[in-house]
Amino acid sequence: MGVESDDTATRGPLGRLAAALHGPNTMGNSRRFWYLFGVVVLLFVFFPLYMLPSAVTNMSQYLSLVLLALSLAVVWGYTGVLSFGQVAFFGVAGYTYGIVAINVTGPLGTIAGLVVAVGIAALFAAILGYFMFYGGVSDVYVTILTLVVVLVLKTFLDQTAGDEWTIGEAALGGFNGMPGIPDLALGIGEPFLVFNDTVLFYAALLAVLVTYLGLRALLNSDYGRVMVAVREDEDRTEMLGYDVKRVKLTVFTFGGALAGLSGVLYVTYFNYISPSELSLTAASLPVIWVAVGGRKTLLGPIVATIFIERLGLFLSVNVGDWAFVINGLLLLVIVLLLPEGLLPGLRDLVSWIGDRRGDSDTDDTTDPTGEVIE
């Protein structure tokens, strides 16, 4: 139900790819969507050619944050677990990468840092997830618990200022943070590719693309349908024989790993990490991005993250005083008027306009939005 059949139903490789990527759980299932998608990707690929270098580095930062948003989108939007704790995995990975990369010099050190950081973030998520889900903690209690975990981490890290809080060569630095974190780099001994500026931009872009496509495939697979089933009605899914706890744990761990990857890329951009990445405000940012973009979609959070972060910079340059107010209003309006998020809301609006104009006869060309009707 839903894959448009204006493509010829080839079962060749392209057709199989299309089948894998299409489904009711994600937006955009027609050929025209993919053409437009391709155009946008090309715009991004040629971004450094027509944009100032500072715009390119800013965008690489936003792209890293997109991964964080996607980690929450997967966990919240598709499994129904609202986690305030994604920043915890983001932060832990950032610090771990910093510690490893500072101690093990050279590009191999940074690669090791990347692997260890993502691994530790995933491990942390697994432990926390096990603690929560296998203990029967659900819904809002999960949210509060993840929030409290973030706060514990922040309070702890804030006071690691003394020299005794040094791991090898890397001082945790307390509230002031840990500066001097080297860029991610490829090479053995001598780096032949350093991830800064334009290279980082492309790395982040690639990561986002791979993640997006990978998640599309995942969410439209059988496993993806189980995830959505868990989101919609846990008890029913359980009764149908699925191990709900395991699904939640697996997805939560994966979300932690993705948030960890985001953290490593972000720290490469900043060359610095501090406990302010674990503040209450920072913890709420992913929630804002996903809620505004559309939590049951993947494109929504991607667009919303870039839009909101870029808007934030624009506002602080031009409007300073009222930036937070505008952010808050945005959030309020979206949740009240467009509870599904900006992208689905806009899509519904466009569809509503289309209906009103009466020239859209085949309304069932609208793909299902991924909401299972109860």
Binding site: F33, S54, D163, F175, N176, Y269, V303, V317, A323
Partner: protein, 425 residues
């Protein structure tokens, strides 16, 4: 073919293009090349707005005064002052923007040390950007691009601690905010106590989010020190002074953080700040002619900003450092940043409001820090503030103990007392 409004594509396309457009909103620096461009990044909103906003205002005052007096070498100053909102991510973005798009000739940025560290390695040092950090801080930054012109913890504690030891006795109890600045300041208290034959009989560190002090007050009473050294920071810690007054804890308190930055003596009802001794280079009440006489610094500040609540310590640092920059550019004859840095390293001085008539404070060439005229300012039961002691205190940690010499060797490091003093460890 029936016309179909394909919504998703419309959205995806529209949204992405809009995003790309927004992201590309490249504001090219529009200043003409015959103005001097200064970047002023100070918190006008967010957590540090209380202490950041006077810094911003005083910077604007200095620039206006200079421009009205013919500018620098005949060139007017053009400034850019977006609001970083107490957010370090913003600071980095805006610093990069200042450097790459606005091509600022000098940058003033940040209140907290965390902000300084956020921008120092990724943006300031790679671009060799001339950067003034004007907040009082823990000390120890030896960086060829950074001119840390605020007083260091050693200078601030160095004026107030010996005074209190002489007045009240040698048993000291330290309470400090539980993060870098507080912990490093507490280390300096130990070093200075040792140098003044005093003892730290107790030390306590309080998380920044804590506003409940009854156990702290009880411990102070148990320890019964001669005086307390307080390096509490932030709005939550302000409650300590109120709670101690309400508990009837009468003990003299020396501080490097209270009153001068957040003007607690005006915001809290007496006698919360009674018997508090602030060791600072500047407060609005500092009794020099340049400051409090008619037409002085205070008058000029309130003339430009009649609704401002207070003129704080850091504001004066922004003010005089902009004037020092002016002198350096005039001496160098150019705004080329390397030449200006060299000029700054030739021993620039300035008659700052903190110094009495006839005296000028000096920017030390080797360390890029300032030998400040320090004051001990005491608040009485009615919160009237008066000076009880003052003298010039040189910055000695970097210059003498560490041996930082930026005139001969380029460096970008931060040193801590624990590496150099046994007592601090």
């Amino acid at each position: 073919m029936t016309k179909r409004v394909d919504r998703r594509k419309f959205l995806a396309g529209g949204a992405s293009i809009a995003t790309a457009g927004l992201a590309g909103c490249a504001l090219t620096g529009s200043g003409s090349s015959d103005t001097i461009k200064l970047g002023i990044l100070e918190d006008q909103s967010g957590n540090f707005a209380l202490v950041g906003s006077p810094k911003h205002k005083a910077s604007l005052l200095a620039i206006e005064e200079i421009n009205n007096n013919g500018g620098i070498n005949g060139q007017q100053i053009e400034y850019f002052d977006p609001d970083p909102q107490s957010n370090n991510q913003r600071y980095l973005e805006l610093t990069r923007r200042m450097i790459n798009q606005r091509n600022v000739d000098a940058l003033w940025a940040g209140y907290s040390s965390a902000t300084r560290e956020t921008i120092r390695e990724p943006a300031i040092d790679p671009n060799d950007q001339l950067y003034f950090y004007t907040t009082q801080y823990e000390g120890g930054v030896c960086d060829k691009n950074v001119f840390a012109v605020g007083p260091t913890a050693r200078q601030q504690l160095g004026i107030v601690l010996p005074y209190l030891v002489e007045e009240y006795g040698s048993d000291i109890y330290t309470i400090a905010a539980d993060y870098n600045f507080g912990q490093l300041s507490a280390d300096w208290v130990k070093v200075l106590a040792d140098e003044n034959d005093a003892n730290v009989i107790g030390e306590e560190f309080i998380p920044l989010s804590n506003s409940e002090f009854s156990s702290t007050i009880s411990r102070i009473q148990d320890a019964d020190p001669d005086f307390v050294m307080s390096m509490l920071v932030g709005s939550n810690h302000t409650s300590f002074y109120k709670q101690k007054a309400s508990a009837g804890l009468d003990i003299p308190i020396g501080t490097s953080t209270a009153m001068a930055q957040g003007y607690e003596h005006l915001r809290l009802d007496p006698p919360a700040m009674s018997n508090i001794y602030a060791g600072v280079n500047y407060m609005e009440e500092v009794p020099t002619n340049r400051n409090t006489k008619e037409g002085g610094f205070v008058d000029r500040y309130y003339e430009k900003f009649p609704d401002a609540p207070y003129l704080n310590e850091e504001a004066e640092n922004n003010y005089f450092s902009i004037y020092m920059y002016k002198r350096a550019v005039e001496q160098a004859g150019t705004t080329d940043q390397e030449e200006v840095k060299a000029a700054l390293e030739s021993g620039i001085t300035y008659p700052a409001p903190e110094a009495p008539d006839g005296e000028e404070i000096k920017l030390v060439p080797e360390t890029h820090h300032v030998n400040h005229h320090m004051w001990v300012m005491r608040a009485d039961e009615e919160h009237n503030v008066e000076a009880v002691d003052d003298r010039v205190i040189d910055e000695t940690f970097l210059k003498d103990t560490v041996g930082c010499d930026l005139t001969s060797k380029d460096e970008e490091t931060q040193y801590t007392p624990q590496d150099y003093y046994e007592e601090a460890g």
